[in-house]
Each structure stands twice: as structure tokens, then as C-alpha cells.
């Protein structure tokens, strides 16, 4: 039973990391953009 939980935890963690990659990509979407600077 605990084997199942540990393996599932590992898979869930890496699935979360793949979603995190997608989230970071969305956050940076739009490519190079100019911002007003002093």
C-alpha cells in the first residue's frame, strides 16, 4: 500500500512540474517586448 502511495507521489510531483513548465511558458508568452525605462 505504501509502495503505491510513494510511487504515485513521485508521478504526481513530476506531473506538477510539467504543469509548472506550462505555467512559466504562459507567464513569459509574448516574446521580446519593450518596456518604458528611465
Amino acid at each position: 500500500m505504501l509502495d503505491f502511495i510513494y510511487v504515485l507521489t513521485a508521478i504526481a510531483f513530476f506531473a506538477l512540474m510539467l504543469a509548472y513548465v506550462g505555467a512559466c511558458r504562459r507567464l513569459g508568452a509574448g516574446g521580446e517586448h519593450e518596456e518604458r525605462t528611465t
Binding site: 509502495d3 510513494y6 513521485a10 512540474m17 509548472y20 512559466c24 511558458r25 516574446g31 518596456e35
Partner: protein
């Protein structure tokens, strides 16, 4: 402190300086694909893995490849550890590793941490050591360098988010860097007396007439990559304090030297790849200043020793027959200078190998390795991880400098804008949260406190060190903490995963974003990144972001313990 000790430290520093360029030049050749002497093996591996070596991966694909590789190898290790008693090369008939330790160990070795809550000689079969733990020593090191090279490409190129090919970088790093270097280092270790066999453990009679079991095994081959790959997981529980792992002062020097070999070379390789060699040396200089600050502090504290020992009449003055200072937890054959130097190096890098017990250092001596980890292990650092951690700090430095002087933040011609700073801050915040939240929880719940062998501030230091070491993928320990419980095995195992991958993803995103930008020509508006002022500013940012984040926790641990020790109280 003695002249002999300082000469050895100076010898180490000069040797490190001398190898930085040749190693850096070699690394550039490895990763730009101009080395071919193992071409047939390389092509065979790509064919077997179905890899197109010419594919230039977008950073998201690079990250996904790295994550899938890590998950697959972690699950395989978990499985092997859980069934090792039915597998070959187990002459001691060691049982299967229990579930919680198998999870923690699989996570720990996959992430280059090598935190060990077990004794290798009583827990792991030769098969587990060689096919799983040693495999991860190579693979996790090659992954780290691949990521640093990918980050470098992000800065050097204008390539619409493309950072190279993860599988090619992984294979080339393993074949051209870690396998040949480990082979040569293992031969040196064997020549000096490290063991390499598949024998049964040996029972001997000591000079006092007692029976003692001597553990055997293929030690030298694992020891070599343990240091070169900044892994740190010992074949034996005593790690590099064990005479079969680290038999002589000469092997001790090489063990310390090989920890920094690739990380130092990477600074040069970075400079060459971004076509700004002076900037590579500026990074080296910032790392070196922090390294010497740590070494000097640790050596001073350990050579000064414990005032309570002096009050009890113990001779703590160094002489030709007495190393002096605080020798608790240290090998007599290595003495204080080499113990302090090893502790500083192993925690500047994310290695975690130890030749002395950090838990037995004086409070200030123990503060040095702990602070090194909390700074993000960017002082040469883990193979690859040190360089990309330092580059994240450089991005923050350039951003802060830009704000201070009213210039557009620009790094090597590339503008640093909101999304880059968001990724850099995510990188820094994940690390801080992984350590502080877990430490707070462990110090508050019964299951966390049950693992403590020391009360008061030293107990807090043990918990803080454990979560810092796992989040920083270091793996060394304040060994007073009993980590073999469901609570610690699970939380520390998860912490190694968070500290590795939840920081790599924003780092790769940052590299991808930078690669999307065109590099503008340097002008008077660009912030110079090759000057002593830049080095000072970079060190300042590392100290502010790293150390001050953790100052409240440190003040409740080793700092208050130091003052209480001066007042005559120990924990």
C-alpha cells in the same frame, strides 16, 4: 591556525586556479560537439534511445525531457531497492530497503543530493550501489552540467527559446567528462589503498582481541564519481572519513580538488561561450572570495576550539604532536585545516561528502557549511547547479544595479525585463520556502522533534541543516538528527525533489526568455560585468538574498549557541 595548514590551503587554491582554463576549454569542446573520439558509442546510444541529435529543443521541451528522464530513473531505483534481496551481487544477503528509505534514497540520488538516512554497508547490496546509486551519480551530474550549458546558450544565442538538445548534452557529459575522469580518479584511489572488490565482509581480530567486521565492496569506482559529480553519497556511513574511501592525505587532497574541478572549469567555459572571458573570470573571482571567506572562518573557529575544553584542562594549542583546537569528530590523519577546508568545499559545492562530522564542529565552524548551503551553493557549486545558480544571482544583480543607477537593466546586451526577474525571484523564493517552511513544521510537530538527539539551539540547527541540505541538494548532515522515520524520510525526500526541479524550471524558463532576445551592442549605458565593482556587487547580492533570508533562523541556531558556549553552556 598553523603555517602548515595555510600552506595546504594555498596549494589547493593555486591548483584550482591553474586547472580552471584547461578544464573550461575541454568542456567547451565537449558541448559544442567538436569531440568525436567516442562517436560510435554516442551514435549507438542515440539510436537506442530514438533521439534525433540534431534537434534543437525549445526550453519547454528541454525541461520536459529532463523531467521525464528523472522520473523514469527515480522509479527504477525505487523498484530495485525494494527487491534487492532477490537480485545478484548481494553476498551479505541484505534485505530489501524499506519503503520510506527507498523513496527518500531514490529521490535523493536522482536529484544529486545523496542524503543518506542509512548506512551503506548494512543497507545496500553491491547491485544497488553499482547499478542504481552509482548510475545516478553519473546521470545527475551530467544533467546538472547540461542545464548549466543550456542556460549559457540562452544567454549566448538569439534562438527563439531553443537551448540545445537535452539527450545529447546528457550523453556527451557522461561519455566525455564524467566516465573518463572517474576512471582515472578511481585508479588513483586504488593505488593509494581504496578498496575495489565484490568480496564478503571480513571478520578480523583487533589488537585488543575483539572481533570486528570490515565491510568490503566496489568502493573506489563509486568514490571517484561521488566527488567529481558533487554527489557526496558515501559507500560507507563514515563517508570520506572512512580509510577505505579516503585512505591517505593525498587522496584527501584529490577528493577536495575533484569537487571543484568541473564547477571551476565551467566558469571559464561560460566566459568563452558568451564571448566575454573577463566576465567568466569575474564570476570565478566572486566565487573565490566567498570560498576563502568560508574557509578562513571555519579554520579559525575550529583551530580556536571550545573554551570549555580549555577550562577543563585540555591542551588545545597546536604543536608538533597536537593538532590543537577542536578535534571532536575529526580524523587525526587529516587534522583541523583539512577538515575545515573539506567542510567548506563540500558545502560551497552541492557535494555533501564529509571527512569530518559537521555536527561536532564549534557553533561558528558549523555555521560556515550551513551558510554555504543557504547562500544557494553558488561558490563554484554543484556541477552545473553552481553556475546556473550564480547566473540567476547575476541577473538579480544586474537588475538591482540598473534600478540603483537608473539604467535599463541589461546583461551581456540582453535586456532584463519583468518576466526574467519574475523567474529569478521564483528561483530564490522556492529555495527559501522549501527550507524555512519545512524547518518550522518539523520544529513544531512531535514527529519532527522525536528525531532530535540534541536540545536547544543545536537541535534547531540540526533540523535547519537537514532541510537546507536537502533543498540545496547537498546531502551532508548535522548527524545528530535521526532521519530514519516516516516523517523525515518522506519530507526530506520530497524536499530534495522541490529543491531540484521546482528551481530548475524557472531557471530554464529564464534561459529560454533570454534566448528570445536580440543582444544589443554594448554601450556606455550597459552595466559592466567584468570589473571589481561588479564582483563586489554580486557578492553583496548573494549575501543579502541568501544569508539575510535565513538570518533569523541562524540567529536562533548556531549564533545563539556560540554565545551560550562562551558562557559555559553546551547542548
Amino acid at each position: 591556525m598553523t603555517a602548515n595548514g595555510w600552506i595546504q590551503i594555498a596549494f589547493y587554491a593555486v591548483a584550482l586556479l591553474l586547472v580552471t582554463k584547461p578544464i573550461g576549454v575541454y568542456l567547451v569542446k565537449v558541448y559544442d560537439g567538436s569531440l568525436h573520439w567516442l562517436g560510435p558509442v554516442e551514435r549507438l546510444l542515440y539510436r537506442l534511445g530514438g533521439v534525433d541529435p540534431d534537434e534543437d529543443q525549445h526550453w519547454t521541451r528541454y525541461a520536459a525531457s529532463m523531467l521525464i528522464f528523472s522520473l523514469a530513473t527515480m522509479l527504477l531505483t525505487y523498484l530495485v531497492l525494494r527487491v534487492q534481496q532477490w537480485l545478484p551481487l548481494n553476498p551479505q544477503h541484505l534485505p530489501n530497503v524499506v519503503d520510506r528509505q527507498a523513496f527518500e534514497t531514490a529521490a535523493s540520488f536522482t536529484t544529486n543530493t545523496n542524503w543518506q538516512s542509512y548506512s551503506g554497508e548494512t543497507t545496500m547490496s553491491y547491485f544497488s550501489q553499482m547499478t542504481q546509486l552509482a548510475f545516478h551519480n553519473f546521470a545527475s551530474a551530467a544533467v546538472g552540467v547540461a542545464l548549466a550549458i543550456a542556460f549559457t546558450r540562452g544567454i549566448a544565442r538569439h534562438s527563439a527559446g531553443r537551448l540545445g538538445n537535452f539527450w545529447v548534452d546528457l550523453v556527451r557529459g557522461t561519455l566525455y567528462v564524467f566516465l573518463p575522469a572517474s576512471f582515472l580518479f578511481a585508479l588513483l584511489l586504488v593505488q593509494q589503498g581504496a578498496i575495489q572488490n565484490f568480496a564478503h565482509y571480513v571478520t578480523v581480530t583487533t589488537v585488543e582481541g575483539a572481533k570486528q567486521v570490515l565491510a568490503m565492496g566496489p568502493v573506489a569506482s563509486q568514490e571517484a564519481i561521488k566527488q567529481l559529480g558533487t554527489n557526496g553519497g558515501g559507500f560507507f556511513n563514515a563517508n570520506s572519513a572512512h580509510p577505505f574511501e579516503n585512505p591517505t592525505p593525498w587522496t584527501n587532497f584529490w577528493q577536495m580538488f575533484t569537487i571543484f574541478l568541473v564547477p571551476a572549469g565551467l566558469t571559464y567555459a561560460f566566459g568563452r561561450m558568451v564571448k566575454n572571458q573577463k566576465h567568466g573570470w569575474a564570476l570565478w573571482a566572486a566565487m573565490f572570495v566567498l570560498f576563502m571567506a568560508g574557509t578562513t572562518t571555519a579554520y579559525w573557529a575550529e583551530a580556536r576550539g571550545n573554551p570549555i575544553h580549555r577550562q577543563l584542562g585540555v591542551n588545545t594549542v597546536a604543536s608538533t604532536t597536537n593538532p590543537g583546537g577542536n578535534m571532536e569528530g575529526k580524523e587525526v590523519r587529516f587534522g583541523i585545516a583539512n577538515s575545515a577546508l573539506f567542510a567548506t568545499i563540500t558545502t560551497d559545492a552541492s557535494c555533501g561528502a564529509v571527512n569530518a562530522m559537521h555536527d561536532s564542529f564549534t557553533p561558528i565552524g558549523g555555521l560556515v557549511p550551513l551558510t554555504n548551503i543557504l547562500l544557494g551553493e553558488v561558490v563554484f557549486g554543484g556541477v552545473g547547479a553552481g553556475l546556473y545558480g550564480m547566473l540567476v544571482m547575476v541577473v538579480l544583480t544586474v537588475f538591482i544595479a540598473g534600478l540603483m543607477v537608473g539604467r535599463t537593466p541589461e546583461y551581456l546586451g540582453k535586456k532584463i525585463q519583468a518576466r526574467e526577474v519574475q523567474m529569478a525571484m521564483l528561483y530564490a523564493l522556492v529555495f527559501a520556502a522549501a527550507i524555512l517552511v519545512n524547518t518550522a513544521v518539523a520544529a513544531s510537530v512531535k514527529a519532527g522533534l522525536a528525531g532530535l538527539n540534541n536540545a536547544g539551539p543545536h537541535g534547531l540547527s540540526e533540523i535547519l541543516y537537514a532541510y537546507a541540505s536537502t533543498a540545496g541538494n547537498n546531502g551532508s548532515a548535522f548527524a545528530g538528527l535521526t532521519g530514519g522515520s516516516y516523517f523525515y524520510n518522506t519530507t526530506l525526500g520530497l524536499n530534495t525533489l522541490v529543491g531540484r526541479f521546482a528551481m530548475i524550471v524557472p531557471m530554464l524558463a529564464l534561459a529560454g526568455f533570454l534566448s528570445e532576445k536580440k543582444a544589443a551592442a554594448e554601450s556606455t549605458a550597459s552595466f559592466p560585468v567584468t570589473t571589481p565593482l561588479f564582483v563586489i556587487l554580486l557578492i553583496g547580492v548573494i549575501v543579502i538574498v541568501g544569508a539575510l533570508t535565513f538570518f533569523p533562523a541562524l540567529s536562533l541556531g548556531p549564533i545563539v549557541e556560540h554565545f551560550l558556549m562562551q558562557a559555559g553552556r553546551l547542548f
